[in-house]
């Protein structure tokens, strides 16, 4: 018969005030198997803990029940105490007689009765506990960062600078993300490229960072500390080591397609460098545009390339890597223009989205920094900016606020005025959200110094008439109808999770919210952790963010990843599911219900991956044959607890 010790805490009067602790102690002393039962004013105090240690030694206790506050508070304390007493820490269980008893009842007699039942049932449980040791897992001290935008870059650099190897995977031919497309950034108006390119270069040069552009994560398996990833490296058909960037190939390439970097405001060749500061600075042959990789069909670039850098036979490569942590920074895209036909986007050349306008303002842009209408290259004198395009519109579009549009629209208006001094900027808005350091002042400045005209209301109609774009709207403040003959309209489009984010989330088994952004583990307390341990989130992949927020979260994610990578080994709670092979018939119902894919079928029986198992016990409730149960909360233990709880 196991020897159990019971320790009842008064918690000052918190417990003793409503529970007759003396009576509880004497009642428990009568319980079969209980060889020691005492109460003390503060069990968690040093003297209190010493009582436990003393009793364990003197009474040769096999296990211990501490009746006190919620296990969320002192379970660890008392398990360590028991350990110092010479017991396995899992031979200690907490009976919660404070939060779940003394604090919620007034009638002392009844509260005492209840406390006795709670403790008795805990005794029944602990007597059947297994001694367990935490499961230890070795850690692969290497990280994978998915996405080469500012968030990915920041996270990769923080990790690498902390001395960990990093694989940075970017889908497109160059890193830089959307930030590299911007001209200036709010509220300081410093040049986006100027502050980003140094980081890009640092990435490309960093000895700890393996940069894989034009690549995609294909499959992720394994678990925290030990992920196995398959990365698909798409062929560029140009060997960067041979290429001397002479640019002859683009000259001869007969194909012209819209240039993603300028969002279609300019064109590019089938063989191209995305933009001058691209990292890596090398050519990519876009097979979706190139006439079928057939020298017969074309092959001009191949012929002119003296460096013989072009290789039509280049094949896709699958690279397999092992990493200990993963940071997902898959970023955002703008809301699909097709869905914005109501604002004439894509119909009228001079209706642009925010990014296109950034390109127009950018010194490296299609107009070399002059703001000219795409249609006739004339300088627009009246420009209408419209906020919340696709955002905050639950009926038709996105319910959420894209957060950054207010600020970049101000910036756009301001930049416009700086380029076109005699021009007029109108901004249609629902309201202005300028929370953030220096943001509100920035808005003020736009209105006061640059005379930007804010119109509170929605635009009802946009249409072309005699070379002008007519904008009809209502000023809900004055209630007046407004009609503007604009030369250009700029839409602040909603931010969406980047294309392919959903597919990626599936590969990584990450949860997504209703809008398709990746879900964090806890909205308040675990904002950079994903629901899967060992995977972290950074940047706009998790929710719309501006640059400083994205960078901050990236560094946060890196720090979180380091908490794993800095360990030799990780430890995992050993209260996991255990299979009784004698009873298992291999029906696989537990395999279906396991939220962590921790159970698998192996020749007619199931087996549990103890590292993946979180011990939720859904498998054991599903199993018809009691063939699988969670250690230290087995059906037998619950059965006995039920009996004790009912006074039996």
């Amino acid at each position: 018969m196991k020897r159990t010790g019971v320790f009842i805490c008064h918690c000052g009067i918190n417990i003793a005030g409503t529970v007759d602790v003396k009576r509880v102690a004497s009642e428990l002393a009568k319980q079969t198997g209980v060889v020691h039962s005492e109460d003390y004013v503060y069990m968690c105090s040093d003297p209190g803990q010493n009582l436990i240690i003393k009793a364990i030694k003197e009474k040769k206790l096999d296990n211990v029940v501490v009746a006190c506050c919620s296990p969320t508070l002192h379970e660890t304390t008392f398990r360590n105490t028991s350990k110092s007493g010479g017991l396995n820490s899992f031979q200690c269980e907490i009976a919660n007689i404070r939060e779940q008893c003394s604090w919620v009842h007034k009638d002392m007699k009844k509260a005492t009765e209840k406390a006795i039942k709670i403790i008795k049932s805990t005794v029944e449980r602990v007597r059947r506990n297994e001694s367990l040791e935490p499961i230890s897992i070795p850690v692969t001290r290497k990280a994978l960062v998915i996405g080469g935008g500012i968030s990915g870059i920041q996270a990769a650099l923080d990790l690498a600078n902390s001395g960990f190897e990093v694989i940075l995977v970017e889908r497109s031919p160059s890193i830089g993300g959307h930030m590299i497309q911007l001209s200036e950034t709010f509220p300081t108006l410093d040049c986006s490229q100027c502050i980003l390119t140094p980081k890009m270069v640092e990435v490309s040069k960093h000895p700890k960072i393996r940069l894989m552009t034009y690549s995609e994560v294909q499959d992720v398996s394994g678990y925290v500390g030990n992920f196995k990833v398959k990365i698909l490296k798409k062929p560029t058909y140009v060997d960067p080591r041979k290429c001397n960037l002479c640019d002859e190939c683009t000259k001869v390439c007969p194909i012209l397609v819209p240039n993603e970097f300028d969002i279609g405001l300019t064109g590019r060749r089938a063989i191209y460098v995305p933009f001058p500061q691209a990292i890596p600075a090398s050519y990519t042959l876009d097979i979706s545009a190139c006439p079928g990789l057939l020298p017969i069909a074309c092959g001009k670039c191949f012929d002119v390339c003296e460096a013989k850098a072009i290789d039509y036979d280049m094949k896709p490569k699958i690279i397999e890597e092992e990493v200990g942590a993963i940071i997902v920074a898959s970023g955002f895209d703008l809301y699909d223009k097709q869905l914005m036909a109501e604002y004439g986007y894509g119909k009228y050349a001079d209706v642009l989205d925010g990014l296109q306008f950034e390109r127009l303002c950018s010194a490296s842009g299609p107009t070399k920094g002059k703001i000219l209408r795409p249609s006739d290259k004339k300088e627009p004198k009246e420009v209408v900016f419209i906020q919340c395009v696709g955002s905050r519109d639950p009926e038709l579009h996105c319910a959420y606020c894209s957060k950054i549009c207010c600020m970049y629209t101000v910036k756009h208006a301001m930049l416009y005025k700086h380029h076109v001094h005699d021009g007029q900027a109108y901004i249609f808005y629902i309201d202005i959200r300028s929370g953030g350091k220096g943001y509100e002042e920035f808005v003020k400045r736009a209105v006061e110094e640059d005379g930007v005209l804010y119109l509170r209301g929605k635009v009802s109609k946009i249409f072309e008439e005699k070379g002008k774009i007519k904008v009809w709207g209502v000023d809900t403040l004055s209630g007046k109808d407004i009609e503007i003959d604009a030369d250009m309209v700029v839409l602040a489009m909603a931010m969406r999770p980047s294309k392919g984010a959903e597919e990626l989330a599936k590969k990584l088994k990450l949860a997504m919210d209703k809008d398709g952004f990746l879900s964090e583990a806890h909205p308040k307390l675990r904002p950079v952790e994903s629901v899967t341990s060992g995977m972290f989130l950074a940047g706009a992949a998790q929710a719309p963010k501006d640059i400083p927020e994205a960078v901050a979260q990236a560094s946060g994610a890196a720090a979180k990843a380091i908490t794993i990578l800095s360990q030799e080994r990780l430890f995992h709670a050993p209260t996991v599911a255990k299979v009784n092979l004698n009873l298992c018939t291999g029906c696989g119902m537990c395999v279906n219900v396991c939220p962590y894919d921790a159970i698998s079928l192996k020749d007619g029986k199931v087996e549990v991956n103890e590292v993946l198992c979180e011990g939720c016990g859904t498998c054991s409730a599903t199993c018809l044959r009691a063939a699988i149960q969670v250690k230290n909360l087995t059906p037998l233990q619950v059965h006995e607890m039920i009996r004790a709880s009912l006074g039996g």
Binding site: E99, D107, I118, G617
Partner: protein, 139 residues
């Protein structure tokens, strides 16, 4: 005169939401009847129908199973399986003639101390008039 009937109730609370919720009720010093003895399990998904039958067989006048709200399960989806399993158990118990009031399932989040308190109050209030549960009790 005879003492008023005090129902014996067992409550299976999931550790992360409902048990935490009842802790919050305690921290906030809310008051509810002492008839319920909680048994904290890892997840509502781990509550086997046998636990419920056994509780009634051992003389429970009422049984409560409480878990995280859909979507909030600490184990992602354990409570969805619980919802399905418990629905069948409830139907069966009522089909064999047990009073519906005696078996209850609820969603209580870690923030819903008030809701937990209210549930216990209502539950006890609903069971009292029914008197002791003799149908499934062994004696």
């Amino acid at each position: 005169m005879a003492e008023e009937f005090e129902p014996k109730i067992v409550a299976f609370l999931c550790k992360w939401c409902s048990s935490a919720g009842s802790d919050l009720a305690g921290v906030s010093r809310m008051e509810y009847p002492p008839n319920v003895v909680p048994i904290t399990v890892m997840c509502s998904g781990s509550v086997s129908p046998l636990y419920i039958f056994s509780a009634f067989n051992r003389g429970a006048d009422g049984v409560l199973v409480s878990g995280c709200h859909p979507g909030d399960c600490h184990y992602i989806k354990g409570n969805y399986y619980a919802r399905r399993r418990i629905a069948l158990v409830k139907k069966l118990l009522e089909y064999v003639g047990l009073e519906p009031e005696r078996f209850r399932m609820s969603w209580v989040s870690a923030a819903e101390g008030t809701k937990y308190t209210q549930i216990i109050k209502d539950f006890v209030k609903e069971i009292k008039p029914l008197g002791p549960q003799k149908k499934l009790r062994r004696d």
